[in-house]
Symmetry: C3
Subunit: 473 residues, 3 copies
Amino acid sequence: MSPATAPLASHPDRLLPSDPVVRPIARRLYAAVRDLPIVSPHGHVDPRILLADEPFADPASLLIQPDHYVTRLLHAGGVSLASLGVGEGPLSEDRARAAWRLLCANWHLLRGTPVRFWFDGELAGIFGVTQRPSAANADALYDQIAGWLQDPAHRPRSLLDRFGIEFLATTDDPADDLAAHAALAADPTVTTRIAPTFRPDRYLELAAPGWAEAVKRLGVVADSDVGHYAGFLAALERRRRYFVEHGAVSTDHGHADAVTAPLKPADAAGIYSRALAGQVTAAEAAAFRRHMMLEMAQMSCEDGLVMTLHPGIHRNHHPPTLRRYGPDTGHDIPVAVEYTRALQPLLERYGTHPNLHLVLFTVDLDVLSREIAPLAGFYPSVYAGAPWWFLDNPTAIREFHGAVTEIAGLSRLSGFIDDTRAFCSIPARHDMSRRLDAGFLARLVAEHRLDEDEAVDSLVGLVVDQPRKVFKL
Amino acid sequence: MSPATAPLASHPDRLLPSDPVVRPIARRLYAAVRDLPIVSPHGHVDPRILLADEPFADPASLLIQPDHYVTRLLHAGGVSLASLGVGEGPLSEDRARAAWRLLCANWHLLRGTPVRFWFDGELAGIFGVTQRPSAANADALYDQIAGWLQDPAHRPRSLLDRFGIEFLATTDDPADDLAAHAALAADPTVTTRIAPTFRPDRYLELAAPGWAEAVKRLGVVADSDVGHYAGFLAALERRRRYFVEHGAVSTDHGHADAVTAPLKPADAAGIYSRALAGQVTAAEAAAFRRHMMLEMAQMSCEDGLVMTLHPGIHRNHHPPTLRRYGPDTGHDIPVAVEYTRALQPLLERYGTHPNLHLVLFTVDLDVLSREIAPLAGFYPSVYAGAPWWFLDNPTAIREFHGAVTEIAGLSRLSGFIDDTRAFCSIPARHDMSRRLDAGFLARLVAEHRLDEDEAVDSLVGLVVDQPRKVFKL
Amino acid sequence: MSPATAPLASHPDRLLPSDPVVRPIARRLYAAVRDLPIVSPHGHVDPRILLADEPFADPASLLIQPDHYVTRLLHAGGVSLASLGVGEGPLSEDRARAAWRLLCANWHLLRGTPVRFWFDGELAGIFGVTQRPSAANADALYDQIAGWLQDPAHRPRSLLDRFGIEFLATTDDPADDLAAHAALAADPTVTTRIAPTFRPDRYLELAAPGWAEAVKRLGVVADSDVGHYAGFLAALERRRRYFVEHGAVSTDHGHADAVTAPLKPADAAGIYSRALAGQVTAAEAAAFRRHMMLEMAQMSCEDGLVMTLHPGIHRNHHPPTLRRYGPDTGHDIPVAVEYTRALQPLLERYGTHPNLHLVLFTVDLDVLSREIAPLAGFYPSVYAGAPWWFLDNPTAIREFHGAVTEIAGLSRLSGFIDDTRAFCSIPARHDMSRRLDAGFLARLVAEHRLDEDEAVDSLVGLVVDQPRKVFKL
């Protein structure tokens, strides 16, 4: 057994390669980017938290309850989601404290995972925690963090400044009025640029429950007659324009597959009408969605919004958990996805269009070298998205560089994407990326594949220049 | 050319990382588990060997003839299986010696493979061999090993004690009377717990040759009327109970795919009846088998037997070899297998049942990070089986940790599974695992991702606690 | 930004592992093979260049214009293929110099890629370049290289000698008269053996444009009546014989998949006749091609030509680029390919035939451990081809060894295959392989998995003995 109390792991060299030849180089590279601003072009932070700027309620509702990275590992280890408050509203102090105790008592479940690394970084960096969490010190840590949360310097906007976030994209429904974004943009005390992202998934899935109601609401918001296909396209175009006017730089797409396949306009219109009448088949709905990806790309060529693709997730794998706790509760599981053939129709049409930026994400390691690196190494529009979700651990990030960076080159990468809804984990996530990228480049230097001046230049590029370029900031 | 004679490789630091920062940590971690007992919850040792406890016949029939890991590599290098005695009964001394000479003369074929590592460990650790095998010393080594085999300390049961095997599972036919297990359990001089494993594959493949005869025999043994589907289910339940009474802790399933899909009972019964009448189609047989995986899971929820899945092997890829030498002769070849969608029906029903433990094995590296780690990182019933078969080499084991352990955490692993029919290789296989796991954890410590006390605790957990927990020992 | 001028990276230890324990071992291993002759059993050099032995025209038409590895990375970075002269004939000096400037100004696009490593090796090793290319020194470097190209010691045949190429295979159409090969073979001043390779792809794709005309021409050249299937087979057999008489050692096959599936001769003949009549379907054409792979294997058993398979590439992914610049211009993209089931019919029939050597290449990392290593580890006819195309970077080569070499053993590898049309990159490509293989083996030595004398023996084997054996030189 481990001792009941031990210092929190937060070594200045953490995640840098242990090889004594590589580490000093990695240290120098990391030092060049450690304090650069954070550019976060894709994520899931709720802008209303930043608008309200109220103190975070308690340690559990901030760090456990909404973060499926954390709750799923505890659940796998035997902790019920109910005991962590998943899917509920605000927790009473008793329940929040009980959830926190469960985390601390099960701290060993996080060993070796990036969740542990992020947590160490948050606890040490934001809340001054110096002890490794355990059943013994759970209450003391709870009190310590809860105390800091009442401190004005730990309110959302203060943290936003302290984190050094230059750009933060949220993810939003096309029908959203973006009032929070507008208010934040109008507030001169907010120096971070907080941009919405256009995520039209639900409007493109004609067979999904609630589609017809959603699209009707979209038509109202867009002031477009969505009773026919042309009006539906117009509604999307108008909402994209609205998003652009509110600072959006990208659209995000997360469907079951990456297939793009054109329909004749009349066929698309026919399917659309049948969907409105509640008579669409699953095959028709898939065909429509695959056709719409081409329409989205064409709109991007016109309005310049970057397209990001996050396909290949089987959502809500465990329906009993969905029914009791809601979506995004840790049981979305990847499936294999094909990109080469799937994206060919889109890339044939728009792959060399100067306005298109297409960022491809995957949770399939094999696809990285087989499909994404070859595509990004030819098409000027295609960028390889940073390792995503179940590939966000140190080994996968190193493998990403081996599979993508060594084939397509450093200039074809998106730069780091945190994709998180856990606001306080943003600095630790970007710090992890900087450390691992420094380690990757330091190894190239140590193997005499790159000179150190090139490595520094490339690392700075990855951290700030590349995301600014790829997302047109 | 290499010299004709050279010392046998058996360095105390073998397989530990070479990085001078990591190795001392790895040495300390390894020292903490080197001498712990062996827990072997899945393998293919024949219990009658242990019951009879007769001296092993000769070096070739012990170390070459029955081990397809060895014979396949020699075969690929141009050595005929006939010359190695594959598929035959006892070998004459001349033929055994000739087979042994072929191994030694072709020792270079094993370079870089785990087979070489295991062999080095067996030869040095069990038989005191100090020279690297070669054509020149083949006869001398044969005589040396043959001499030891006559020594009472090298009989099966003595080796079982010497190896420190605390628990050893065999793999058995549901109709087996388990007489050998009963006799071993009744013998107070046998301190190892030797448990059968319920492997019902052949009874669930309705279109396989001999199925009807096999199921009739099962009905007799179970005293159940297998002329209808309900009686078939009852027979399986009774035999599972019989296995539990004889110490079994798990069932093992090795079909072509991992698909689980429920049938209505009447449909399952209909297919079953058509199979008895010799009229089942391949599609019906597959549907029945996929349905039966759900029945097996439900029975596991009732009787508590752990389920292990080993799908995705194309058996007997080279029919001429099958006809001449029989099955398990080195030409089983993996194919891609899907788990996320395949297991969804099973996990929807039983994935959070407290009695279910489902251990998933794969020979597909890509599936580890894409499907198995995400599943094991949510479902409390799912454990990631140790790297299996063609993934049992050092690099694959490191990649397994990078893909699974870093995502799902150390607590979601099965612990090491040797899965071997080569009795003498058991210690070397477990030793390899301990060394590689020590190296993996030492690297985490060296990169300041884990404290050393946590690494020791985790390594001890992997070696003994985790298999005891996962297999309910 | 990096400095405008910097020394060219060409460190003697480049690509050797940085680990201070491993590097000295790797240095010793590399020294044992650094100067061994080059065996190149598969590539795309045009033999007429060697026959004519005229000075190369200019740096751009030698090093950029024909090399899709280079042009695709520049294209992805925003450089038009037109500006690089892709798909054109000889370039004017102005255009060649402009293309060269684009390469130098975009040198950073190659960072971290093998293209950069090869370029560094070519520039330093062949042309004495000591500065890192940049916009500032582009013209000076152009003049320096252009000057050397006028030097007799830099003509093709002099370089062939200087590179130490013992054997060089080209890739040729079955209807080719092989006049260049015959003339080179007849020239006593050419000491390199330059062999053609029989590449029948276009004759086996019945639905491809121009197939009927091509096969008619083949019939004429072979003096066989290709108006019926038997005559088609005879034409192929005769041309194979012709190739053997001109020194060929292998056939090469690059289709969409690896499937082999026998047809009844009458069915094959029927499809063939319908194809001649312009009435073949895509499904029939695929069936015919999959059948022909078995015929090719049978012919190999008879005439001894080694079969190499390069499946799984989606050719000409971007049709607008194909139309404007032609094929092989950087937009061939891999797709997933299956081998286990696909090759089963072929291996069932010929897998243990003593005359068959079947070398399997893949661009799918996952297939290496799942299918290729298991196949090569049983079938004496099957060899694992060196990492190919998008897997030719250092990390993928290390992963190849981890996936294939550690499972099937060093003796089942093809040895390095450069597969290049960039003549001047041949030494750098082989040097990269030697360095990486030395690093791999040095790590095995440092981890006490192999003795150093074995590692030296194995490395020499990989570099010269193994390709000689696999390709029957």
